[in-house]
């Protein structure tokens, strides 16, 4: 355990981020009348995020826990912090290039986005149930506000309401679950939960305590499940993705989901996983496996019928969460590395796909008609993102899925074979709706009134910058896989 000074030194990235948030607030006020205010604000945000990346790079390595065991400082936390910095930088660039966010409110948008990022980085390293809950709320509150950012839009206010009601209920249920865990194990530390459970398992705890534990964990799952949009806590997801500004949805569909997975990994693997074999005899792996089956099947089957591309991508992101939960059910180190690798690829392809939808200037499938002749760059990069999400070689998504399925199959038990087979069948279904969008873009002719889609040069460059690695990682993924092998240590 690190003392306060050492903790602060390792907490530098978050401190830099907090300073950036304050700096944006001040610049936003001072430069009120400057014509260059938007560029200035984006510049401050990007410099701040670069400084945060630098601070993360410079902090001493070596796993330890900070601030009397509130936060873990390990490979998992560092990887996800880097991940969130990248996602936030892309979020800032999307915001800068987007016409959905009015220029006069850009500072507001960045402040919320970076507060959200701060919450994400705390969520990925929280080692204590109180910290976990606080971080989850720090992620949730700005998400509600940003979903309803265009409040005059009827759909945006509907999205924000649905999000806040679902989110509030889910986090309340999770809090109740945490209070039961506290009662059963007598500790709020996630690693303490593991120790208490091992002691209870060897001490021959009665069935009543086990049932209480099962209920406590299922209630806690509500909070995580809502963050990653897992069935049956997915209902908010399509409506929020459809109603919220696309610029923000690109970020929302990736970063909070990744943080939810980081927290799930820590909660299940550290608190209920290897140290306490079978955690007092309950089949966590099977429970997560069944949730995974429900999540991917529902996501893929409902996505087939959608003709709104944002909604289609919302169901696709539910399905993607299903594949990730499938690997999480395995819970081996190999599976956790596969989840981290897949999330890395998912960042590129999903943010790219939503950015493409925003640039297309319409979210109905008909807005993409004949896109190949109206804007070739947009059509080709969208096709790359969508095929990569399907998991077809030679795109990054294929490599990611390969690792996920390999981790599931390597367990070698009938349940996991069945899980993998259902996963593969789901991938086959997903090809249908991803390919549907590509078909509309390349095979359908543009009709009268479908003009050329104007995309500014920086936006095209950003699209290509996301599509390039999606292709490159599909043939040469070793660097990222090596990085994850080195950086997947988890503090237990």
């Amino acid at each position: 355990m690190a003392g306060t000074t050492e903790s602060l030194a390792r907490f530098a990235p978050e401190l830099v981020l907090s300073a950036t948030i304050l700096a944006i607030l001040i610049v936003d006020l001072i430069a009120r009348l400057q014509p260059k205010r938007p560029s200035l604000l984006s510049g401050v945000a990007l410099v701040g995020l670069s400084a945060m990346a630098g601070a993360l790079w410079l902090t001493p390595t070596g796993d330890t826990s900070l601030f009397t065991h509130l936060l873990a400082f390990d490979g998992l936390a560092r990887y996800f912090k880097g991940f969130f910095i990248l996602a936030a930088a892309l979020g800032v660039l999307f915001g800068h290039l987007s016409d959905e966010i009015s220029r006069s409110r850009l500072g507001e948008y960045y402040i919320q986005l970076l507060c959200l990022t701060l919450g994400l980085s705390l969520l990925a390293s929280a080692q204590n149930l109180l910290m976990l809950y606080l971080a989850l709320e720090l992620v949730s509150l700005p998400s509600y506000v940003l979903s309803g950012f265009r409040w005059w839009d009827r759909r945006a206010s509907e999205a924000a309401l649905k999000y806040v009601v679902f989110g509030g209920a889910a986090s309340g249920v999770m809090l109740y679950g945490f209070s039961l865990i506290y009662g059963i194990t007598g500790t709020l530390q996630i690693d303490g939960v593991a120790a208490a459970l091992t002691a209870a398992a060897t001490g021959g705890q009665g069935i009543a305590g086990q049932l209480g534990l099962l209920m406590a964990v299922m209630l806690s799952l509500a909070g995580f499940g809502y963050k990653v949009a897992a069935v049956p806590f997915h209902m908010w997801c399509p409506d929020v993705y459809e109603g919220a500004p696309t610029t923000f949805v690109a970020f929302l569909s990736v970063a909070p989901k990744a943080a939810g997975f980081a927290a799930l990994i820590r909660f299940f693997v550290v608190g209920f996983g290897q140290p306490a074999p079978g955690a007092a005899g309950f089949p966590w792996a099977e429970i997560l496996g069944i949730i995974a089956i429900g999540t991917m099947t529902l996501g893929n089957v409902v996505a087939v019928t959608q003709d709104n591309v944002k909604r289609l991508l919302a169901y696709s992101s539910i399905a993607q969460a299903g594949y990730l939960i499938m690997a999480l059910a395995v819970g081996t180190d190999e599976a956790i590395r596969a989840v981290m690798l897949y999330l890395g690829f998912y960042l590129l392809m999903n943010m790219g796909a939503f950015f493409g939808v925003q640039l297309a200037g319409g979210e109905r499938l008909s807005a993409f008609r004949g896109m190949a002749s109206r804007n070739a760059t947009l059509a080709i990069t969208m096709a790359i993102f969508l095929f990569s999400l399907t998991g077809i070689p030679p795109f990054a998504g294929f490599i990611g899925k390969f690792y996920l399925f390999a981790a599931v199959l390597s367990v070698g038990e009938p349940f996991f074979y069945a899980l993998a087979i259902i996963g593969v069948l789901n991938s086959a279904i997903s090809l249908y709706y991803y390919a549907k969008v590509v078909r509309v873009m390349f095979l359908d002719k543009a009709e009268e009134g479908d003009g050329v889609v104007e995309v500014s040069r920086p936006a095209s460059a950003l699209l290509l910058a996301l599509a390039g690695p999606t292709l490159l990682f599909g043939v040469w993924w070793a660097p990222l896989a090596d990085l994850i092998d080195k950086a997947s240590s988890i503090l237990r």
Binding site: L130, L141, Y144, V164, V165, A169, S179, G183, P238
Partner: protein, 102 residues
Amino acid sequence: MIIGLNHFQVVSALLFGLGLLTIITRRNAVAVLMGVELVLNAGLVNLVAISRYQTGGLDGQIFALFGVVLAAAEAVVALAIVLQLFRARRSVDTIDVTDMRG
């Protein structure tokens, strides 16, 4: 009769159940948010009682203090959203808020 942990846990379980019932059955958005508050407070009652009667120490009570503040923050954001919804639609009835389906 001595009031002990069990009594508090029963109260908390009742609060939790009533909160969920409110969330599921009420149609007015503000009433639904009241249900959310009940669920939150059920957890907080549990935490304080457990910390007082079972584990000792202040962990649970500090958690509850943070929880109270967070519940207030969440209520602020939620009511602001309901207010905007009312401005956009002149209604806060969840039955009316169904532009998006499928």
